[in-house]
Symmetry: D2
Subunit: 229 residues, 4 copies
């Protein structure tokens, strides 16, 4: 599973990787000057070592790998994503290219209400009328904004200026290159129940891809309560 369609126009695609569970063991074992640094098949002792490193939060052995993802998501999701500084980003720029007419609309069942305080919000599915109205508000706001944008572009207004009317529900794209330690940190925060539904969808997709490539590390992370080492 190295690709996932997400939300109404988004996706996560693994574009390349240099990663396996053996790299964790080899990196940790260099500390002991073991000579068998080119392991491929892992023994039970190796799995125990990965679990020990995870539990004791010895994080550096989980950094000797790399995943390059190609992501398409709404700007408000990207805004949260780019707060994660350990990793590399290159994003679509609406200074250079015309923004596409693609915006986030939730499924009807995902329109929700919010109660409570930060850190302890309670979200509930909105009733049908509120949900329908919300979708119509969004659809209309996107349409009007894009019409204004397109009109300014036609008039020759600089793209970097015309874009100011575009909503954060607009889709953007980026490359993200990152190691397993940083992925576990990202997913510990962005798959959490306190995270926003939309970025959780992406975080779950990242987890699935990660789990397929470094299954022992992934399972050890789960077993240790999803705390990043």
């Amino acid at each position: 599973m190295e690709y996932a369609d997400l939300l109404n126009y988004g996706f996560v695609r693994l574009d390349g990787h240099m990663a396996d569970d053996a790299s964790v063991v080899n990196a940790a074992r260099v500390s002991f000057a073991k000579n068998d640094l080119d392991k491929v098949e892992l023994t039970d002792a190796d799995k125990g070592l990965i679990n020990f490193l995870m539990r004791e939060r010895h994080g550096t052995p989980f950094e000797h790998n790399a995943f390059r993802f190609h992501v398409k998501c709404p700007v408000f999701v990207a805004r949260e994503w780019f707060r994660h500084r350990i990793g590399s980003f290159n994003e679509f720029s609406a200074r250079y290219s015309e923004a596409p007419n693609q915006f986030y609309l939730p499924d009807l069942s995902m329109v929700r209400t919010q109660k409570g305080k930060p850190g302890a919000y309670v979200f509930e599915q909105a009733d049908m009328e509120v949900s329908m109205n919300a979708l119509e508000h969004m659809r209309k706001a996107y349409e009007d904004a894009y019409t204004a944008y397109a009109s300014m572009i036609r008039d020759g207004v600089a793209k970097e200026l015309a874009r100011t009317v575009l909503p954060v529900g607009m889709y953007t794209q980026f490359y993200w290159t990152v190691n397993a330690r940083s992925i576990m940190n990202f997913c510990s925060l962005r798959s959490a129940s306190t995270a926003q539904f939309e970025i959780r969808e992406y975080s779950f997709a990242i987890e699935k891809i990660f789990a397929g490539i470094m299954p022992i590390t992934f399972n050890s992370w789960i077993d240790n309560g999803r705390v990043a080492p």
Copy 2:
């Protein structure tokens, strides 16, 4: 000058700092085990040392200081700002609080057209009709978007979802804590003629504050072609 009003609702405010030119000299001199590590008044030799470090791109001595800024700017400016990973950010979140009804409108004279290719754009002031139309497009788009937003909020729709209609011209706020080396990197890129007008305004304001607190470092950076060490 530790405060500047910027654009129509924005500002940069220095909230705190631990910084002076002497810290550069002291940090560099620890390499030589000089005993006079608590300099306050700098000699010509000290200024020469700062210039040498800048020219030879010995960057680490410029890291032993900190500036904490409070910034209010449009989201599209913040988006570029947050790409700078060496530094710390905390930003207003429209998941937790209602977004304010404040959006970026350029001065009439700053509505511009764009020609040419990335890296070599030519911007020119738009003619009066185009400019007036653009401002009206923006005003209207902001108004419609905020009306839709407010309506959803009234209906109890979760703030994190209702915000999707808000344009990137919306104002946000954040704290930014950063050292002189990272400031010079930021300003070398964001004060450049190829940077967008709106973030350049902020970058120039950062420069002025920085120049007031570390004048010898600032001047050395200017003299060395504004290349970050």
Copy 3:
């Protein structure tokens, strides 16, 4: 307590800081767009907020501060210290200056034996004869090495080459500029019972200085099991 003598020639000295507990609260509150961003006196609600951030591992509000330390310690301690990448270092260089004739000798009672496996070592005080022999081995090794070094220096051999004979027990000096989040990470690892005695002494000294300047943050970190947010 902003200075501590450590081991036989070492010290930690706080050279400057921009730090208080209020900065944590202010940075966190910008997310809520509260207007009272210049707090000095903290209320119980503020303390609760710090505790919430610590427990939920919302780390960024703990980054809007800076501590600049001047440290003198043996090279083998500095080697572990420099593994901590979030922070800034400038160190004495034996390429530029003659190395001082100062080396680490433990107190007699700190000569210890080691049993068990990595992560679960058992250290015990060595018996008197072993301890005395060890100290004599060290003293002699340091003396012989420094004599060889001084002889090469006298012959005009490049300092960068002559230094190769100098033991890792040699003292070095550096500046370290770092924020509270990184300090808590450092101390969670380097004050731990699994860390080496000599760096623990430094880590405890850092803790004391940190506790004096950000007492609410420090206590919250202790209460939350000394896990870095």
Copy 4:
């Protein structure tokens, strides 16, 4: 060329990589939302783009790749290496394993004298007598230190304590995982004529491996004066 023997016991070995020139172009082009993101063969336009990014110091497109190196070098070389914070390290630990009896001895012709000031040193080959004496000083110092070390180990003294007598000429090993941007930064500093001969040897070996895998990027870096973007 993915392996190089260096100095008397050292080496650099490429243990794995996810890297090619196409990744630079693809990452840059996501900004333009080009659809052909899976390039393998690069055109002249692609090469021009890489050169543009290098010249204008748009560094992030050079981060979407990874190299994992296994390095064996003297401790004094590793000490300089580990100052480079953008990258991941795991090193042999003499707390956990007995240190090997392997130390750096330069070739006779590489014993040098030093004149001048920091940043402008003049190194010259030492005359034969000085060179022979220096090698003998080193050999003897290493032998004495290792004898003292082995004696303490035999007595049961903790490895972490016994190691304090070991000279920085001792060999160590580590894994280093790093991207092309950070490699160019490393080599711009460590291949420079002002860098120490011994680390330059490693830096040149890194360059050769890098050049073989990302030849267009490498040549562009050379053409732009070896300044890291």
